[in-house]
């Protein structure tokens, strides 16, 4: 498995720590594994993401949002010299009802990159239920390559 440079890992940690306001903070994502082969991320249970009054059934949309976020991370890790990234399209299958208060685990990777486009796929399950996939998704991203990296873009003016 190709190892990431310490510099890249430090950048990821910094980017993750300063993501500030926004949905990714609301999702309280924790990176469990990261390499150019892919990423594994944990989302703790959050009752705000449920559809039922008992708050045990997650809305599909939050799983879609989780895939979109983690695809972005996988691309940042796998692709050098990306200045910006935008989701072009996203397809998600909801494979079973997301009925649990367990943490959600997502694995995602960039399976193909070209100069302009990245292609991603990912899978979601509840912690300790790796065989019972709850959602699977694919996406494509438009990449802009340039002098300034996404990381520099994000940290600019934040010092």
């Amino acid at each position: 498995m190709p190892d990431l440079s310490q510099q890249k890992l430090d950048q990821i940690a910094q980017m993750w720590n300063m993501r500030g306001k926004g949905l990714i903070t609301q999702m309280a994502l924790k990176i469990e594994e990261v390499s150019t082969e892919g990423v594994l991320v944990r989302m703790p249970f959050n009752p705000d993401f449920c559809v039922d009054s008992d708050q045990t059934l997650l809305h599909g949309g939050i799983l879609t949002a989780l895939l979109d976020s983690v695809f972005g991370l996988a691309n940042f890790v796998a692709i050098e010299g990306v200045s910006t990234m935008a989701t072009l399209d996203l397809r998600v299958d909801y494979l079973r009802a997301a009925h649990s208060r367990a943490d959600v685990i997502v694995r995602a990777h960039c399976y193909r990159q070209t100069r302009h486009i990245a292609f991603n796929s990912g899978s979601i399950w509840f912690d300790n239920h790796v065989g019972d996939e709850i959602a699977r998704g694919t996406a494509s991203f438009a990449l802009t390559r340039g002098e300034t990296s996404l990381f520099e873009e994000m940290t600019r003016g934040k010092a």
Binding site: K21, A65, D89
Partner: protein, 133 residues
């Protein structure tokens, strides 16, 4: 089904409160909703654009209401979705309009457009399937 009853239904769903939208129209085969921008919806913290997943979630919510505005416990079951992102969702309200293109006995197909300035300039377009049984 009157708007007030639909709105009360929407308000019962924790994730719909998280999204924070109002239903503006609901008919037999369509629904229109407007979501207020909130910092928790942000995907790109530099540009303060909507997170693509929030846009897809809001469109899914509007689609589910178009299919079944009078849901009892939880909104109608989603099967899958495809979303095309056409423009960035800027800071400000976002409108979604869902049209049920086919409602059979078991499956419903729904087309959803979302926009900000005008419906001709879509932020995203999506196709959603729901299971009615």
């Amino acid at each position: 089904m009157d708007l007030q009853a639909v709105s009360m239904n929407v308000f019962r769903v924790p994730f719909f409160r998280f999204l924070n939208f109002d239903i503006q129209e609901v008919g037999e085969f369509h629904a229109k909703a407007e979501m207020a921008f909130d910092s928790r919806h942000i995907g790109n913290p530099v540009m303060e654009h909507y997170h693509g997943g929030i846009i897809a979630s809001f469109m899914e919510a509007t689609a589910a209401i178009a299919v079944q505005p009078d849901f009892a416990e939880v909104p109608v079951k989603p099967i899958n979705l495809t979303v095309d992102y056409l423009r960035p969702g800027m800071k400000g309200p976002l409108t979604a309009h869902a049209t049920v293109t086919r409602k059979g006995s078991r499956i419903a197909s729904v087309r959803v457009l979302s926009w900000q300035a005008s419906p001709e300039k879509s932020v995203a377009e999506g196709l959603y399937h729901f299971l009615l049984v």
